[in-house]
């Protein structure tokens, strides 16, 4: 894959052209990855200040006692969106529901380990661990196979 970067002062915005011999899953993934750079989620930080988090920076989203939290590499934000809304909105960005209360960005997953009660523990790039419930394991497996 070749990437050419060209500066053009006449352009008002960044323009990206993807040329490919044949449409494939990789092309779709590149498109999704590029789109995700521009995709942001409106959140609130600890002080209640409104901030915008890039979808590609999100590791996982968790619902705790009716509150939804967005976890990035080293920060946690609160959001007003509901978990199911995230599940729909972020599906094309590599996010998958891994339990009743958590949606994970599969691109941040490093490995998994089987644990008690047929659950799995997923290790993320930042060293955090999240639990994959057994009812969601086959969905994660299928999704990863699709991403290959």
């Amino acid at each position: 894959m070749k990437i050419n970067l060209k500066e053009n002062k006449n352009k008002n915005d960044i323009e990206i052209l993807i040329e490919y011999p044949e449409i494939s899953e990789t092309v779709h993934r590149i498109e999704t990855a590029i789109k995700s750079v521009d995709n942001i989620v409106r959140c609130q930080d600890d002080d209640g200040k409104i901030c915008f988090v890039r979808v590609s920076d999100i590791f996982y989203i968790e619902s705790v006692e009716k509150q939804v939290f967005v976890y990035t590499n080293d920060k946690v934000y609160r959001t007003e969106l509901l978990l199911y809304q995230f599940a729909e909105k972020l599906y094309n960005f590599g996010f998958e529901q891994i339990s009743k209360s958590c949606i994970l960005n599969l691109n941040t997953m490093v490995s998994v380990k089987a644990i008690f009660n047929s659950k799995m523990e997923a290790m993320l790039e930042n060293g955090e661990k999240v639990i994959i419930s057994r009812n969601f394991i086959s969905a994660v497996k299928k999704r990863l196979e699709k991403m290959l």
Partner: protein
């Protein structure tokens, strides 16, 4: 969400039917060893009921996160023995079989089910890790090409 509920019900049905079949098979072996030639028509349904209740109970125990696996397994086993004894007396199973034989069959089914479950989950974890490795390899190759 509906997909997950369907998945949950499907898994519950498969597990219940599998352990019921195993229980009936083991009880048949016990019956043959003891020289019995007949089995009552209601027995398989009684076994199915006990197995269904066992699985429903296990799902409830699943919600309680105990610190040590061994405690969780022990609680599940005590619950299983409890319902086997309770329904055994109710259905009069101990008139033809000794209590310990029925309990041993229950424990064998429990151990086999847990073992199968562990094997399956480990296999799934292996497959997921293989997919993650492959994704990483492709990403690294792409990075090198760039």
């Amino acid at each position: 969400m509906k997909k997950n509920i369907f998945q949950f019900i499907k898994r519950l049905l498969i597990n219940t039917l599998a352990t019921t079949a195993l229980s009936i098979f083991l009880m048949c072996i016990v019956a043959i060893i003891k020289g019995f030639t007949l089995m009552t028509l209601v027995a398989p349904f009684q076994i199915l009921l006990v197995n269904s209740l066992a699985h429903i109970g296990f799902i409830l125990f699943d919600k309680i996160n105990m610190k040590y696996k061994i405690i969780n397994y022990t609680v599940m086993l005590v619950y299983l023995i409890g319902i086997v004894l309770g329904f055994g007396f109710l259905f009069d199973w101990f008139a033809v079989n000794e209590i310990w034989i029925v309990c041993v069959v229950g424990v064998i089914v429990f151990v086999l089910a847990i073992t199968m479950d562990i094997i399956k989950i480990n296999r799934d974890a292996k497959e997921i890790n293989a997919s993650l490795d492959e994704l990483r390899k492709r990403k690294n190759n792409n990075d090198k090409t760039e």
